[in-house]
């Protein structure tokens, strides 16, 4: 039985996914890693414990992956979303322990809100993960980012683990955290964690522009400004309860609450003397309760169920400008009332899946998911949209000697209802998403894999029901992906390894949803007009070697090539141009050295030139950039307490750069973390 105080936490619960293969008893991180890879034919890119701890946040960890472009609006509170293989962030599903984090309003998942604390691994599956007992939704995104919680480990029969930590650093940032893990006599494990971040978010940046003249002279300006209204205060409380009966069943529930208030500094643009650029604010309240239950029924069948309830409330406050002092005489009244907009997203999700090993070589998976989303807002003449989605999926997996393959058919049926005038109307959209995946192990250390997948992303509530735009028959965005990859373990021994993973792919994005002016050009509407053709490749090389039991060096290098062309309109200047914000070349490099309890990670990111529009003219070019980060950590054991010290130096070269046009990124910054556990 649960202790009674847990009842309060049950309001906010969610659960880590456990595959049946996970139930091999070991709670170590290694087991957690193995469990996720096992059964998945597509080999993901993955960052695990050590490297994960050296990252300064989830978004920074994820952007190390090949094929990923992080869209970062800068600063502690700036929105951070991922775009995989040029398909747009709406095509990437983010899953926490196998259950998707989504919102029907804009399909944007802000990675800046997630803590690395408690995560065991982060994996990126291009195409999709294929493993037994997957829910139908796990097949639906063009690519999937999996955040997997680390299972609590109780050393030497301990019943309780405590971790207290605090971080402090640039931008006046303070981030305390606390974790309590408890092992119940019945075998269930409870983890309660809480954390907060407070930061004024201010940083200096350069605004500069130099131009070259025909006579060879150079003229321009370089001035320093400060990012204001970029503060954030956030708090997170989570509770997770998990239990497992070896070889029979397992379940978990996970409650999550996140609240934040932040300034929206907006883009940097010229503003007359005494005006603030932006005083706009955003307040968020996100909560979810999710759970998973899995049961093996004999040797053939196993079943899983997942459930999730989520709620999020966003309040956006738009402040009118105060007049500059030179214009506001003594008679000027106090500042005007701001405009406030509230959005409340409600979602309920239920999934049931069954898996049968019908022969030693064939496994069948069937899954049915249902979700209901509802968006409430105080916008004028709002449509109050509701959406009932149903994913039905059948999948067959073949395992024959060195050959693995899977074929999946997913049917998504979406029924929207919305207020139109005084009565509610409805609209239906449905799509069929087929995919095939294979892996062939040519030898002990060489395997080939590939996939073909057609996936769709539904128009969001914002695409369809935002009051100032309208839509004529908006179809889902259509993404077709073809991929061929190779995984080569060049060298592997007990003391180290060297492996190379390379992929070449071809993507075609059609019916891309874009906003264009209507017959009255001051009103905009959403249309399926965009078309993008992508040819890309990714190469990741990973090596490490142990010099002694405590001394290790390693390196991971990742390179991405994306030739992503706008094929929307042959008559336009944008025809066949590289699409906005996608560099042709980008990459990252991570170097690791560990000795005597010390660990040093050095990470470099390189991004080539990009354009803010598909018309690839010099005026719309964004400069290439390179950043260098370092993280140094040291673990100590003092009379039963484990003490970890960590110093992270970000953007060591003080590179002034922008990922999103007019949103400057911070220059050099640092952070110090201290945590002790017992």
């Amino acid at each position: 039985m649960f202790p009674s105080f847990l009842a309060a936490f049950l309001l906010f619960i969610q659960a880590p996914e456990c595959h049946p293969e996970h139930s091999e008893g070991s709670d170590t991180l290694k087991a957690a890693m193995v469990s996720s890879i096992y059964g998945s034919i597509i080999v993901p890119q993955r960052i695990t414990s050590g490297e994960l701890k050296s990252a300064s946040g989830l978004s920074e960890a994820v952007r190390r992956f090949a094929g990923v472009q992080l869209r970062d609006y800068g600063g502690v509170g700036g929105l951070k979303t991922v775009n995989v293989r040029s398909l747009g962030s709406e095509h990437t599903g983010v899953f926490i322990d196998g259950i998707q984090v989504d919102n029907a309003q804009n399909m944007q998942v802000d990675l800046g809100r997630f803590s690395l604390e408690g995560l065991g691994s982060v994996s990126l599956f291009s195409g999709q993960k294929v493993s037994p007992l997957q829910s139908a939704k796990e097949y639906s995104s063009a690519s999937s980012l999996y955040l997997e919680s680390a299972e609590p480990v109780f050393a030497g029969g301990k019943r309780n683990n405590f971790v207290f930590g605090t971080g402090a650093g640039s931008f006046m940032t303070i981030s305390p955290s606390a974790v309590w893990e408890h092992h119940f006599p019945g075998g269930s494990k409870l983890k309660i964690s809480a954390g907060g971040v407070s930061s004024d978010g201010r940083y200096r940046f350069h605004v500069k522009d130099f131009r070259q003249y025909s006579d060879g002279s150079l003229a321009g300006y370089d001035t320093t400004m400060t990012r204001f209204n970029s503060d954030i205060t956030s708090a997170r409380v989570e509770a997770r309860l998990s239990s497992r009966t070896e070889g029979i069943s397992s379940w978990n529930i996970h409650a999550y609450f996140y609240g934040s208030g932040r300034g929206l500094p907006g883009p940097v643009y010229k503003k007359a003397g005494e005006y603030p650029l932006s005083e706009d604010r955003q307040t968020d309240r996100d909560a979810f309760l999710q759970g998973r239950y899995h049961r093996d029924l004999g040797k053939v069948w196993s079943l899983a169920a997942k459930v999730k309830l989520s709620f999020s409330h966003l309040e956006y406050t738009d402040f009118p400008e105060n007049l500059p002092r030179s214009l506001s005489g003594p008679s000027t009244p106090l500042r005007d009332r701001p405009a406030r907009y509230n959005y409340r997203n409600h979602a309920a999700y239920l999934s049931a899946s069954a898996s049968a090993r019908i022969s030693p070589t064939i496994r069948i998976n069937i899954a049915q998911d249902i979700q209901y989303d509802y968006l409430d807002s105080d916008l004028r003449s709002f449509a109050y949209p509701g959406r009932l989605s149903s994913w039905s999926c059948a999948s067959a997996m073949l395992h024959r000697g060195s050959f693995d393959a899977s074929a999946t058919l997913l049917y998504l049926n979406v029924m929207d209802s919305f207020l139109s005038g005084s009565s509610r109307s409805s609209a239906r959209r449905d799509v069929l998403m087929p995919s095939i995946v294979f892996k062939w192990k040519a030898s002990e250390n060489l395997s080939f894999n590939g996939f073909a997948k057609r996936s769709f992303r539904m128009p969001t509530f914002n695409d369809l029901y935002y009051t100032t735009v309208g839509t004529k028959t908006l179809d889902p965005e259509d993404a077709l992906q073809l991929d061929l990859g190779v995984l080569w373990d060049v060298w592997s021994s007990k003391t180290g390894h060297f492996s190379i993973k390379a992929d070449a792919y071809r993507n075609l994005l059609q019916n891309k949803i874009i906003a264009v002016p209507t017959s009255n050009q001051f009103r905009w509407s959403m249309y399926n007009l965009g078309k993008v053709s992508v040819m890309g490749s990714e190469i990741a090389a990973d090596c490490s070697t142990k010099i002694s039991s405590l001394t290790e060096i390693g390196m991971t290098a990742r390179y991405t090539f994306q030739y992503s062309r706008d094929r929307s309109d042959p008559e336009a200047l944008t025809w066949n141009g590289q699409i906005p914000y996608i560099p042709v070349h980008s990459g990252s490099l991570n170097l690791l050295g560990a000795a005597g309890g010390w660990r040093l990670d050095i990470t470099a990111f390189m991004t080539g030139e990009r354009y803010t529009t598909s018309a690839n003219l010099p005026a719309y070019q964004l400069a290439p950039w390179t950043t260098l980060d370092a993280a140094l950590s040291k673990g100590l054991r003092i009379s039963g307490y484990d003490l970890t010290l960590k110093l992270r130096l970000n953007n060591l070269l003080d590179q002034q750069y922008e990922i999103v046009d007019n949103y400057p990124m911070p220059g050099f910054n640092f952070r110090f973390d201290l945590s002790f556990s017992f």
């Binding site: 131009r211 003229a219 010229k270 009118p320 449509a383 309208g470 509407s525 944008t574 003219l617």
Partner: protein, 392 residues
């Protein structure tokens, strides 16, 4: 304050840079090569066609281009090239461009500035801070700038203002409250006429405010039509004002959004004697106005003739301000069929050439030059959202 320090620093940088680059910044803009788009018209009365690109919302990429008649070259971002040390260039969302006494006035809506530059070489002369400025008009001694005055969509309803700027000192020396979200304005005699849109209000404005220039107070308010925008004086006693129209969106049973226009983007006129006796504002035929300009004795406008039915039929209207006749030419049957989103129009009074600014919403726009019979003369790639043009 940081902001103060910043300002001082910017000025210092500017001064140093200007000093270092003296030879460049004071040289005439003849050094700016541009791209050759046409054979020159050396003998014309005009030297340049200025094009103000609005730029994207809060993108800080508003630029000033010009087409040089002597060599047929189109020069992009001339302001930036001639004033490289001015921090952040022109700024954000250039909403109006006007010429007076060899000076160009650029109204930067997003940046809250009105810039004055020398029309001969694009060198910066002065900048005046005005909140949310929209359009500018002149009399002999002053410039008048309409302003939203800090109103925001969804906030409290807040009336706009007109600011008066002394042409000698470039300082604000007067302000007067007008209707909600004032737009176009024009001086006729001793009065200033200001079109009020009320665009942020649930129910739009319908009026033109008339300001007596000797007292700088609103002397009367004339009800014309809903959601007014462009306003010009024809020099013959008539004010011409356009409406953005009224539309609503609804969804049909299939979930498709349907736009229904309840009032067109029409053109109206009234005499400056309005209200005295029989002269009430009148609607001008079947004219649709997305952009308009006055050239000699004509009003030229481009609009969508099929807007009421939700279709597309971009049409050029030529309205004689003296006779009142309306000539409508559908662009689809001419070389101008290539124009995607007509966003600004300018007409050469000398030869009748029609310049159309064509805004592309995903990339840079274009400027097209057609003869008066809509035969293509040349076209050039402009900046983002080219919109406002002036002949110099």
């Amino acid at each position: 304050m940081n902001r103060c320090a910043l300002l001082v620093f910017s000025v210092a940088v500017l001064a140093v840079a200007a000093g270092c680059q003296k030879s460049e910044t004071t040289s005439r803009d003849a050094d700016l090569a541009g791209v050759n788009v046409a054979v020159g018209e050396k003998n014309g009365a005009f030297r340049k066609l200025f094009v103000l690109n609005e730029g994207g919302f809060q993108k800080n990429n508003s630029t000033l281009d010009f087409f040089r008649f002597s060599d047929g070259n189109y020069v992009s971002d001339a302001f930036g090239s001639m004033n490289p040390a001015i921090v952040q260039g022109l700024g954000d969302t250039g909403n109006d461009l006007a010429l007076l006494n060899n000076k160009l006035w650029l109204v930067m809506n997003g940046s809250g500035y009105v810039h004055v530059i020398d029309a001969r070489d694009e060198v910066h002369v002065a900048s005046i801070a005005i909140p949310d400025p929209r359009y500018v008009a002149f009399d002999a001694s002053h410039a008048y700038v309409s302003s939203y005055n800090g109103a925001i969509y969804g906030g409290d309803e807040k009336k706009g203002k007109v600011y008066r700027i002394d042409l000698k000192t470039y300082r604000i020396d007067g302000e007067v409250e007008v209707g909600y979200q004032p737009e176009g304005l024009a001086v006729a005699g001793n009065a200033l006429y200001v079109a009020n849109s009320g665009g942020y209000n649930y129910v739009h404005e319908k009026s033109v405010s008339v300001i007596d220039l000797s007292t700088f107070k609103v002397s009367k308010t004339i009800e014309v039509a809903s959601n007014l925008h462009f306003l010009v004086y024809d020099g013959y006693g008539k004010i011409w004002v356009s409406s953005y129209g009224e539309s609503s969106w609804s969804q049909d049973d299939g979930g498709n959004w349907v736009q229904s226009m309840s009032e067109p983007m029409g053109l109206y006129s009234f005499t400056t004697q309005v209200g005295s006796g029989s002269s009430l504002p009148e609607k001008i035929g079947d004219v649709h106005v997305m952009c308009m300009t006055r050239s000699a004795d004509n009003i030229y406008a481009i609009g969508n003739a099929a807007e009421m039915s939700g279709g597309y039929d971009n049409t050029l209207y030529e309205v004689s301000v003296r006779g009142g006749s309306v000539t409508a030419t559908s662009l689809s049957k001419t070389d101008a069929a290539k124009v995607g989103n007509p966003y600004g129009i300018c007409v050469n009074p000398e030869n009748g050439d029609i310049y159309i600014a064509d805004a592309d919403y995903t990339g840079p726009g274009k400027v097209w030059c057609f003869t008066k019979d809509l035969k293509l003369k040349w076209s050039a790639v402009a900046g983002m959202l080219p919109a406002h043009m002036v002949l110099y």
